[in-house]
């Protein structure tokens, strides 16, 4: 065919007509399973989720109130329960801010600058997720325990870490270590450095740029990370169990208190305390879902959640 005619063919934007989102979920004759198979699949999924997720949650609240509302609240107001609640809140109040500070620092250094060994550093930051909670507790015992590397020195200086609150905080910080950092790193790497550079070019100091430009950009992702971090911090069991020593009224967190009550066959009381933790989980899930649906585009990709 003629050269000229071909020359006129310029690239135009591609539109995929009739293939809008409406297609995706409505059953096209070929992209869905037949009604029978579809029904079976949905039934399997729903029953599986009800059995494995919804039922345990329902059981917690049912058993918590099995002996009545009075028993429920008296279980929550014993001195041991109160001190466990207080310790859990204290530990979270220390561990979460520490990890926020670390998350911000790590994300700034990793996402805004290029340097060798960056991906290795990210792997190291994610490391605590791959370590069993019990092993996480163990490593602190091996470091700070009576027979640990620093044990004699600590004893000589009268510093208690293992079987005391500092150990619980350290173990909690370890298991919640990556939560804030990984959310922020992923998001800030996507966002790049353009906004901050504009702020600097307009005369802002580095700290002002961080406060007025970076922070507003990442606030939802930060909240998201804090949410997950806090849930884990308050609920951690294995790592804390190893370092706590289970001293009632002193080094018992809520999950540990649940265990003690349960092992004493005080089941209703155990579930009463557990119901508070389950409530925390529910609130976390609701807030997380709200964040994902309202501010999903201000969160990093949803593929790597732990």
């Amino acid at each position: 065919m003629s050269e000229t005619l071909a020359d006129w063919a310029e690239a135009r934007p591609v539109t995929i007509e009739g293939r809008t989102k409406a297609h995706v979920k409505t059953r096209s004759p070929v992209t869905g399973e037949g009604p029978v198979l579809a029904g079976v699949l949905i039934a399997i999924a729903v029953i599986f989720l009800l059995l494995f997720l919804v039922l345990p949650l329902a059981v917690v609240f049912y058993e918590a109130f099995a002996k009545g509302v009075g028993a429920y609240f008296s279980a929550l107001s014993t001195p041991d329960a109160r001190s466990a609640i207080w310790l859990t809140l204290t530990v979270a109040a220390i561990a979460v801010p520490l990890n926020i500070l670390f998350g911000l620092a790590a994300a700034w250094a990793i996402a805004k600058f290029r340097f060798p060994g960056k991906s290795f550093l990210i792997t190291l930051i994610d490391l605590p997720f791959s370590v069993s909670p019990v092993v996480a507790g163990l490593i602190y015992v091996l470091l700070f325990g009576a027979q640990g590397l620093l044990g004699p020195w600590l004893k000589a200086h009268d510093i208690e870490i293992i079987f005391a609150v500092p150990g619980i905080v350290l173990a909690t910080v370890f298991v919640t270590f990556p939560f804030v950092a990984r959310e922020l790193i992923a998001l800030m790497e996507d966002q790049g450095t353009g906004d901050e550079e504009v702020a600097l070019s307009l005369g802002a100091t580095g700290f002002t740029a961080f406060l007025r430009v970076t922070l507003p950009n990442i606030k939802w992702a930060l909240l998201y990370g804090v949410l997950l971090c806090n849930a884990r911090a308050m609920g951690e069991f294995g790592a804390v169990s190893v370092v706590s020593g289970h001293i009632r009224g002193k080094t018992n967190t809520m999950p540990l208190h649940v265990e003690i009550l349960y092992n004493e066959y005080n089941v209703a009381a155990a579930f009463a305390v557990a119901s508070l933790l389950a409530l925390l989980a529910l609130v976390t899930l609701v807030l997380k879902t709200v964040l994902e649906s309202r501010f999903g585009d201000e969160l990093p990709g949803k593929s790597r959640r732990h």
Partner: protein, 354 residues
């Protein structure tokens, strides 16, 4: 295989109440290369998908030869469908992609392994990708993927070949090469072929006949010459090539602009108001003659071998773009005599508004 679509109506519940296809009928003759041309949202892809069985029409029928295919599933229709983004199976090699349609046949109909492989390699030769059978789609260029997609569609010996925007995702140079190549393949294999495009040059260059769609209806079906030279509706006139509508009317079969009678006859009717569609080549600047109109040149620019001039004529509000040979010297501000040598007149209310 002669393919017919009869009175196809299709409404997508999610979109507006306007049907995506509003009573469309189309005949594609055996061995013909038919282009479906229209703007986005005109329903051309939907029509293609309904022929394939990928969408189900609300009403209407599809015939393959004498056989009513409407009730047949996609699998039973045996069409070769080439998707806009090729939809190659990334986990399979090129050879396995091409062989897929043969591999999934039921045991009685499936050729032996060696035969499947032989056919896959043969098709690979046909699409000029000999030697790439062990590659995976991720290792091919866009143009190469397009060829694999075609080979895969041809492997099932389709009764009709359907291509959705076959060159839409490619850059201009590759598109040009592939067009000629597709034409060649069509001539060699002789498949009844229908393809969708929004690119009029592509449609006019490739097709034996073109169907122009707009707003869920077919505006015109015809050879590229008919479509270009004798547009049946104002929409076709406006959509194919460049054309400027000028307010006009007819009396006794002749077209008038204002009080000025042109040498253009119209069969649109005997009298009434309407619009005259003129292409840049339809108006010439020449010596003053009795039927000349005096026009004011507003702007001139050089366009390759030709010159484009924007002119203003009496009794018409906007500007009209005309094309002259570069040897004709015109300057902005000149007042020149012009003549209308061609033009298509449509009475108001005739055809869908463009």
């Amino acid at each position: 295989m002669h393919v017919r679509a009869v009175d196809i109506v299709k409404t997508f519940t999610a979109s507006s109440s306007r049907p995506a296809l509003d009573g469309v009928s189309l005949d594609v003759k055996s061995g013909e290369l038919m282009g479906l041309l229209g703007p986005s949202g005109s329903g051309k892809t939907t029509l293609l998908r309904i022929i394939a069985g990928l969408d189900i029409p609300d009403s209407g029928s599809i015939f393959f030869g004498g056989e009513d295919a409407s009730q047949k599933s996609v699998q039973e229709r045996r069409v070769g469908f080439v998707f806009q983004n090729y939809a190659l199976f990334k986990h399979l090699t090129i050879a396995d992609n091409i062989a897929f349609g043969l591999e999934v046949r039921s045991r009685e109909l499936r050729p032996p392994k060696a035969e499947i492989r032989r056919r896959a390699l043969e098709l690979l030769d046909l699409v000029q990708l000999t030697g790439l059978e062990k590659r995976r789609p991720a290792q091919l260029s866009g143009g190469q993927r397009q060829r694999v997609a075609l080979a895969r569609a041809l492997a099932v010996e389709p009764r009709v070949l359907l291509l959705d925007e076959p060159f839409g995702a490619l850059d201009a140079k590759v598109r040009r090469d592939l067009r000629g190549w597709l034409r060649e393949i069509h001539q060699r294999t002789g498949h009844t072929t229908t393809f969708v495009t929004h690119d009029q040059d592509e449609a006019l260059e490739l097709s034996d006949r073109v169907a122009v769609l707009n707003g869920g209806r077919i505006e015109q079906v015809g050879t590229p010459d008919e479509i270009y030279d004798q547009p049946a509706t104002p929409f076709v006139n406006g959509f194919i090539g460049e054309a400027t509508p000028i307010e006009a009317h007819i009396e006794a079969g002749y077209v008038y602009i204002g009080a000025h009678q042109l040498r253009i006859e119209s069969k649109a009717g005997t009298s009434g108001k309407g619009r005259l569609f003129v292409r840049p080549q339809d108006i010439v600047i020449g010596d003053s003659q009795p039927d000349s109109l005096q026009a004011q040149i507003v702007a001139v620019r050089r366009n390759g071998a030709t010159r484009r001039a924007e002119i203003e004529i009496p009794a018409h509000a906007g500007r009209v773009e005309i094309e002259t040979h570069s040897s004709v010297s015109v300057r902005a501000g000149d007042s020149v005599p012009i003549q209308f040598v061609r033009g298509t007149f449509f009475l108001d209310g005739e055809g869908a508004p463009a």
